[in-house]
């Protein structure tokens, strides 16, 4: 058993920058590199790609990330754990092997599957429960299982799996472990359990390990990304922002840091912001592995860009797993146009009110935003500053793309049918994939590891 490991996080979402992971792998002296690339909706979008082409459905950046990283990972003996498998870990694993063969690098890849439930919903229908008392997701599943299933808007149903499946893969000699839907902190907790021999019912250790995973999982968000403010929170060298790593010790304590020479900062302020990020109950941060308690966590800045984290605790894991259900949610229609100079806001408001009259009957939920004034906070908190320029934006949902397009068409028509000086009209139609959640009995979700 080791008494210390170093885990880096080189991606915090599917579209994250590629370079910081390369720097971590090359110069981070890592034992493990984690790439977290799967937001709630990402997997439903991946499922749609898989339906169109059964050899696709893994992360669209997988090829680019692996082509660059593979030689470095193998040279430096760093194991990669990633959820880039998205809706299709098997095909993702095959693609990695194909890239390795092309680069003449011998690798072993473990695909972790079992999270996808769409085909199993029928047999588990008695074990599906409401999440946060929301009924909509359960109704979606019922419709999917009814005789009118061909009308079902359900696209995907994926359970958040915990460390179990990754642990099995870690016991093999796979260099790369690629998963579908796994809870983000579990990607980090699994190597800790594997290396330190923690018992999977030692909930205090799992709670502290989950804290470390939670801190790392958004990559640049703990090194100055989503943090920097040139006036109140200045961060040096944002252009070369480094991604984080943690030195984790066998007692679960850890030191969060980043590669020497990279931009950004790790300090108490960045760590506190990330610790509380997306937390709805700090006494019970639920994952498939543990109910982690963040209110016992201690932090100390022990050196420049080094924050020590310890004291996280935990209680028994929940008996259910959360399942993300993706469904077709219709189409979003948007249109934008700008006004500038004298009376810009007044002309934008005239344009907005004119379009509300033209569209409201067909789009009762029509949204009108004045960008530069009150679009983002939905109020200006009584600042009442006369802006020099304003961008009007209209948005509405519709059942069809054709109907959604009407929003942009009406905005564009303001050129000749609206107030003076309207310029830069743009129109967009976006297909919407909605995500809702249910809970399932965890015994019904069986992870499986396949080695390539």
């Amino acid at each position: 058993m080791k008494n210390q490991i170093r885990i880096g996080c080189g991606a915090g979402f599917s579209g994250d920058r590629l370079e910081p992971a390369m720097i971590l792998a090359e110069r981070g002296n890592l034992d493990y590199l984690v790439l977290e690339c799967l937001a709630e909706r990402t997997i439903a979008l991946a499922q749609k790609r898989k339906l169109a082409d059964p050899t696709k459905g893994y992360d669209p950046l997988l090829e680019r990330r692996i082509e660059g990283l593979l030689p470095i990972l193998v040279k430096n003996n760093v194991r990669l754990i990633t959820n880039m498998g998205a809706a299709n870990p098997m095909e993702g694993a095959k693609k990695i092997v194909e890239i390795a063969n092309k680069q003449r690098i011998p690798v072993k890849v473990a695909a972790v599957i079992g999270d996808e439930l769409s085909d199993k919903l029928k047999e588990m229908s008695d074990d599906i429960f409401k999440f946060n008392n929301e009924n909509f997701a359960v109704e979606l599943i019922k419709k999917h299982l009814s005789p009118s299933a061909h009308l079902s808007p359900l696209i995907s149903a994926n359970a958040y799996m915990g460390v179990e499946a990754i642990l099995e893969a870690l016991q093999s000699d796979a260099n790369i472990i690629i998963t579908g839907r796994v809870a983000d902190p579990s990607l980090f907790l699994a190597p800790m359990i594997h290396e330190f021999g923690w018992a999977t019912d030692n909930y205090n250790l799992l709670g502290q390990g989950t804290v470390v995973g939670h801190l790392l999982e958004c990559a640049g968000q703990i090194t100055g990304g989503y943090f920097a403010d040139p006036i109140t929170k200045p961060v040096a060298d944002m252009d070369t922002l480094g991604h984080p790593f943690a030195d984790v010790f066998a007692d679960g304590s850890a030191i969060i840091s980043k590669v020497e020479g990279t931009g950004g900062v790790v300090n108490l302020a960045t760590v506190k912001e990330q610790l509380l990020y997306e937390v709805v109950n700090p006494f019970a941060y639920l994952t498939p592995d543990v109910s982690a308690n963040f209110t016992t966590v201690k932090l100390e800045e022990i050196a420049e860009n080094q924050v020590k984290v310890w004291g996280g605790t935990g209680q028994e894991k929940p008996p259910t797993l959360k399942v993300s259900v993706g469904y077709q949610a219709g189409f979003l229609g948007e249109g934008e146009i700008s006004y500038a100079g004298h009376c810009a806001l007044a002309r934008a408001i005239l344009a907005g009110e004119t379009l509300e009259k033209r569209l409201k009957a067909d789009f009762p939920d029509l949204r009108t935003d004045y960008v530069g004034v009150s679009a983002i906070h939905r109020t200006d908190f009584e600042h009442q500053i006369e802006p020099y320029e304003v961008r009007l934006r209209l948005a509405a949902n519709a059942d069809t793309a054709q109907k959604a397009a009407l929003i942009g068409e009406e905005v564009e028509a303001l050129y000749t049918n609206g107030p003076a000086g309207g310029g830069g009209a743009r129109k967009y139609v976006t297909e919407l994939v909605g995500i809702v959640s249910v809970l399932v009995d965890r015994k019904k979700v069986i992870p499986e590891v396949i080695i390539f």
């Binding site: 937390v279 209110t295 949610a329 979003l332």
Partner: protein, 101 residues
């Protein structure tokens, strides 16, 4: 005094919930924040943004507050009609709040 003079914040999203942390630059101001920035006052300040309940968690271990705001994202990231579907910018809405110093 506006909150941004003494504290920073990060917004997170879970479904239709917005989570807003409030972290004093100087840990000595934590008590002041506990006293002045109650859930009820935040609810009043964010009345045009948050339509549901606001729950405040006190975290003396890291000298920080956490506000969990229900019904705050116009249905949530995947179907919201707002530009900022995640509510990423809402941290700065909280920091606009005025307190007596």
């Amino acid at each position: 005094m506006k909150l941004y003079h003494i504290a920073h914040s990060r917004a997170g999203d879970k479904g239709n919930i917005s989570t807003l942390s409030l972290i004093p630059y100087d840990a000595k101001d934590y008590e002041l924040l506990c006293q002045k920035v109650t859930a009820a006052r935040v609810k009043e300040h964010l009345k045009e943004i948050v339509f549901g309940e606001i729950l405040r968690y006190e975290m003396p271990n890291i000298s920080s507050l956490l506000f969990v705001c229900q019904d705050a994202l116009l249905t949530g990231v995947t179907t919201s009609l707002s530009i900022d579907t995640h509510g990423k910018a809402l941290s700065y809405a909280l920091l606009e709040m005025e307190i007596e110093s």
